[in-house]
Symmetry: C2
Subunit: 409 residues, 2 copies
């Protein structure tokens, strides 16, 4: 195996970062002309790899390095090139660039199976409001009717965006991957958390991908003049909301050992005036985990707090469920192989779960799937400050190349 | 004394309500053409009272019914005609209409002192960001430099608005009221709270007017991915904020017997996204009371909670003081007289304090001052749903007329 070429990795990451960059960050929305330009530029840079290029009718890109036996299901790896609004240069890109560099490292190897890099389209939800659309559709985890009419701020629907790209959403069945289409799938990604950094590990071996349960709590109190309403005469919706914010925190801490997390990220106060006792407050709750029973227990505890607060505070609280997905277990044999590789390569590793969603969460419908995390500074992602060191990226690529080599042998 | 004419009262209230009314409520900002039109209309309606009309250089209006001895300081009463944006028909108007009707009721009385109705300009803060500007200036509680350059959404400064009205802010000293200029001042106003309604009293006799202490708490945590950040790795600014919202509530409840109230009315969450642990939260706190020591104790307790939360949560919290005014004590002899009048007229009454600010809070600098509250439905004010029954308004006017009669004898 050839050594990793850290300069080429750095150049590809830096080159891609120019597409959609402004002072406020990188904005390269899925299916946009910027997304297309970035992909065209990348294909130009990697011509020397002489890969077979194929794009499906949804715009997902497949780059194949043929093996000795083309009849065998290929080994797949990859990630995405689109970003959020005002995003960074690493989320998605590390996985694509890393997969391409891994293929380069295997140039001197003789492998039976083909290796295929997949660039999934529309991983981020920033344009159409739905995440991992490309991987969801080709794995049969969703059908186009769910997204076809979703439109971004420019008014262009998903169906039209696919068409503009050169695809055809109506023919999406042509893009479906059959179970067994690949020997396995591996994705490398920045952690988007700070556990690796704070615990000083180079590689995260991902076992499960959490699924978000998201809901709003509408808390109806009574708006009153803040000066003229004595404490005993109030139904302050924000005071009740504060109890629930703490209850959400407490419920998740109780399930900490099971990896469950819960967050109130949005608070809407009505009327939101310094001289009015809040009459209505809406909390947006994000509950995630990899253990379905733990998620259910947490949700149950939050609901008990909701009922208790409504009763003791004499107010009404409605729950509005937004999404409730199931966590995904990745392949344990592949994870064990990653551990063995890390040990051989003397890289520090941590077994962990992914709190964020990824294209890899849909691939188990097709083939055994694994994920590698690399550290990102401060755990920051979806932000111009997003950063992964070249050293960490290359360490991840070395593990990835070895996975591909062993699987493609 | 003539009986109160409830039809005339209802007609004047309804007539004034037409000026600035839209579907969203009544908007009659201070010094606006709508404010002027309402005043002109009112003056036309009350021509039959044959009052002496005077306007000072700030646009405050004085309507005098001369007494037998014009050399004696007159008895004054009044309120304001301006409204908030999307306000109601009673806040201010009840006091002006009530004062005028009280003068009518005294037509058959022979009184030594003149009675003067004052229509204060710019009581509401909605146009220039400052409340009770007219009364503050003529009582010497503030000087024009504080407001002169304050501008509303239309960009017109206070100084220019006074000029457009026909006044002259530079000559404001001509408008100053000297101590002793009036025998006394009485203002009737809707309660803007629901204590009278819920305790079933017709008249509130106000002893003190609370002053607001307003400050912001800036809570600096750490923004992180809500899925990828385990509970133990977070510095969630909103969780700390929730503790402080409850601490503000608890501190005020402890001082409930002293009439102190505290409210968090505004919450700003940054970034305010469902998939991000809140990194920064700003709370706007409104603390009011009539007992300076109680206010100080409450503030001290809130500050202790701030320090304790910062310490235990490992975050930083800054306090930004916005205003810190002193409560105002009204005249006890006048309050005792109001009680006697209520007893004679067999009206139920409650001794209370005002949580909201009023023009009357500045008049003690000039003369003994008192306030009467009447119930308003649901305690609602500054809202199109603001409502006081004609019966309650007229009950207040009967008390007001008797106060004026006794003071002007």
């Amino acid at each position: 195996m050839l050594p990793v070429n850290s300069q080429r990795v750095a150049d590809l990451i830096a080159g891609l970062a120019k597409f959609g960059r402004t002072e406020a960050g990188i904005t390269r929305l899925a299916y946009s002309s910027t997304d297309k330009a970035a992909q065209m530029w990348l294909l130009k840079q990697i011509e020397y790899l002489d890969l077979e290029i194929r794009e499906d009718v949804l715009g997902n890109l497949f780059l194949r390095k043929p093996g000795l036996d083309p009849a065998l299901p290929p080994v797949a790896c990859g990630s995405h090139l689109d970003t959020v609004i005002h995003g960074g240069a690493y989320d998605g890109m590390c996985g694509v660039v890393g997969a391409l560099e891994a293929i380069h490292m295997l140039e001197d190897e003789t492998l039976r199976r083909s290796i295929e890099v997949i660039v999934f389209r529309a991983e981020e939800s920033s344009r159409f409001g739905y995440a991992t659309i490309g991987s969801k559709l080709i794995t049969g985890k969703a059908t186009p009717d769910k997204f076809a009419h979703a439109a971004g701020k420019d008014g262009v629907t998903f169906a039209d965006a696919v068409k503009e790209w050169g695809g055809n959403l109506e023919a999406y069945q042509k893009a479906l991957l059959q179970p067994g289409a690949y020997k396995c799938f591996a994705e490398m990604h920045i952690e988007q958390g700070k556990v690796l950094e704070e615990t000083k590990h180079q590689i995260g071996i991902v076992h499960n991908i959490a699924a978000p349960t998201r809901f709003k709590l509408h808390i109806h109190g009574m708006a009153d003049h803040s000066g003229a309403t004595p404490m005993g005469f109030r139904k302050d919706a924000l005071v009740s909301a504060a109890k629930l914010i703490l209850a959400v925190e407490t419920a998740a801490i109780r399930e900490k050992e099971n990896g469950t997390v819960a967050t109130v990220g949005v608070v809407e106060v009505d009327p939101g005036s310094i001289n009015v006792v809040p009459g209505k407050v809406t909390l947006w709750v994000d509950l995630r985990g990899v253990d379905t029973e733990s998620i259910q227990r947490t949700l149950k505890e939050i609901r008990q707090a909701v009922q208790g607060t409504a009763r003791t505070d004499g107010i009404t609280i409605e729950e509005e469920m937004l999404t409730s997905d199931s966590p995904v277990a990745l392949d344990e044999a592949l994870a064990a192989q990653s551990e063995a590789i890390c040990r051989e390569q003397r890289k520090s590793f941590l077994h962990m779960n992914s709190g964020a969603g990824h294209d890899a969460m849909h691939m188990p419908a097709v083939c055994p799937t694994t994920m590698l995390f690399i550290p990102c500074r401060g755990g920051i992602s979806h932000n111009p400050a997003e950063f992964a060191s070249n050293e960490d990226i290359c360490a991840g690529i070395e593990v990835m190349a070895e996975i591909l080599k062993r699987e493609a042998k």
